[in-house]
C-alpha cells in the first residue's frame, strides 16, 4: 500500500513539474513571438519614416504624431503620422497605411510617438 502511495505521489510530482515546464515554455514562446513581431513592425515603421524624413522640408509635431512636408517627384506632399491604439497610421493624399505593433509586453502600456527638437541652433 505504501509503495502505491509513493508511486502515485511521484507520478503527481513529475506530472506537475512537466506541466509547469510546458506552460512556462509556451509563455516564453508567445512572449518571444510578440517581441519579434514588435521589433519587425518597428523596423518597417522606422524604415518608412526615415525614408519620408530624408525628403522632408519641414517636420511639424502634432499632439499625436507629426506632419512631414516632403518634396516628391510630383510636387509638395504632406504626410501625416498619428498614433492609434496599437500602432501608428501614415496618411498621405493617396490613402493610409497602418503600422500595427501588436500587443504590448507590459499590459496597459500606451503607444507613444513624439517628435522633439534637439535645439542645436
Amino acid at each position: 500500500m505504501t509503495e502505491l502511495v509513493v508511486v502515485i505521489g511521484l507520478i503527481g510530482i513529475l506530472t506537475g513539474i512537466f506541466l509547469y515546464m510546458y506552460s512556462r515554455s509556451r509563455s516564453v514562446v508567445v512572449e518571444d513571438q510578440q517581441t519579434a513581431a514588435y521589433y519587425q513592425s518597428m523596423g518597417l515603421f522606422l524604415e518608412t519614416f526615415q525614408s519620408d524624413v530624408r525628403m522632408a522640408r519641414r517636420v511639424t509635431a502634432t499632439q499625436s504624431g507629426c506632419f512631414i512636408q516632403v518634396m516628391s517627384k510630383s510636387g509638395p506632399l504632406t504626410i501625416a503620422y498619428d498614433v492609434y491604439d496599437s500602432g501608428i497610421r501614415r496618411t498621405d493624399q493617396s490613402g493610409s497605411r497602418n503600422f500595427h505593433f501588436g500587443q504590448p509586453l507590459k499590459s496597459g502600456a500606451k503607444m507613444i510617438f513624439k517628435i522633439t527638437s534637439e535645439a542645436t541652433e
Partner: protein
C-alpha cells in the same frame, strides 16, 4: 623641417563642424511605454546624417528634384521654437489655433474653410440608395476624404448628422436620417476610426438648407453634415 598647415586644417575642421551642425536636429520616441525607441534625424538628411539632399533651408533644395514651374519653390523659413512645444509655426494656414489640421496638398481647401469657419462640413456628395441607408459607391471618394481628416486629427470628436428632404412621411424621414448617419459612422469605424470618437444624430426634414419646393433645393437638403465637437 616641413611646416604643418595648422591654420587651414583648423579652418577645415571648423567648416566641417558648421556644416554638420546646421539644420534642425530632431529626435523621436516611438513604441509602447517601456519598449520605446529613440531615434535622431534631420529633415532632408539620411539617417546616417549623410546629406542626400540639400539642407531644407538651403535654396538649393528647390533644385533637388524636378518640379512644375507653377509650384512655389522658395525655401521655408527657419522654424521658431514656441513655448507650446510645437517645432514650427505649422503648415501655414492649415492648422487652426486649437490644433485642427488639414494639409493643403490633400486638396480639401473647401472642407478646411468650412471647418475653420464654423466647425462644420456639409457633404452633399455622400449619397445613398433611394429610401435606404445603403451608401452608393460614388460616395466613397468623399468618405475617404472625411476618413483622412478624422484620422489625422485624432484629438477631435465628430458628430455625424443626417438630413433628408421633405418627400415622404416625417417619421420615416427622421428614421432614415438616423440610419444614414449611422451608415456613415459604420463605414468610418470599419476603416479604423474609434467609434467612441463618433456620434450620430438624425434631423429628418427639420433642418432644410434650401427650399423643398424645387428639385434642386431638395437635392441640397439630402445631405450629411459632420460637426467637430
Amino acid at each position: 623641417m616641413k611646416t604643418v598647415p595648422v591654420v587651414p586644417f583648423v579652418l577645415f575642421l571648423f567648416l566641417a563642424f558648421s556644416v554638420s551642425a546646421s539644420g534642425e536636429k530632431l529626435s523621436g520616441t516611438v513604441g509602447y511605454e517601456g519598449q520605446e525607441f529613440q531615434f535622431h534625424f534631420r529633415p532632408g538628411r539620411a539617417a546616417s546624417d549623410t546629406p542626400t539632399f540639400p539642407d531644407p533651408k538651403d535654396p538649393a533644395i528647390d533644385k533637388a528634384l524636378p518640379m512644375p514651374i507653377s509650384i512655389p519653390t522658395s525655401a521655408s523659413p527657419a522654424p521658431a521654437k514656441s513655448a507650446g512645444g510645437s517645432l514650427t509655426p505649422g503648415l501655414a494656414g492649415q492648422i487652426s489655433k486649437d490644433g485642427f489640421q488639414i494639409p493643403a496638398d490633400w486638396g480639401f481647401s473647401s472642407i478646411a474653410d468650412d471647418i475653420r469657419s464654423n466647425n462644420r462640413i456639409v457633404f452633399r456628395d455622400i449619397t445613398f440608395d433611394y429610401d435606404s441607408a445603403n451608401l452608393k459607391s460614388e460616395s466613397y471618394p468623399t468618405l475617404r476624404k472625411l476618413l483622412m481628416i478624422i484620422q489625422s486629427n485624432s484629438g477631435s470628436r465628430f458628430l455625424i448628422e443626417g438630413h433628408t428632404d421633405s418627400d415622404g412621411d416625417d417619421a420615416a424621414n427622421q428614421k432614415l436620417s438616423i440610419d444614414r448617419a449611422e451608415s456613415v459612422k459604420t463605414w468610418l469605424v470599419s476603416n479604423g476610426i474609434d467609434s467612441a470618437r463618433l456620434a450620430t444624430q438624425g434631423f429628418g426634414e427639420t433642418k432644410p438648407a434650401e427650399s423643398n419646393d424645387t428639385p434642386e433645393g431638395r437635392a441640397q437638403n439630402r445631405r450629411v453634415e459632420v460637426v467637430r465637437q
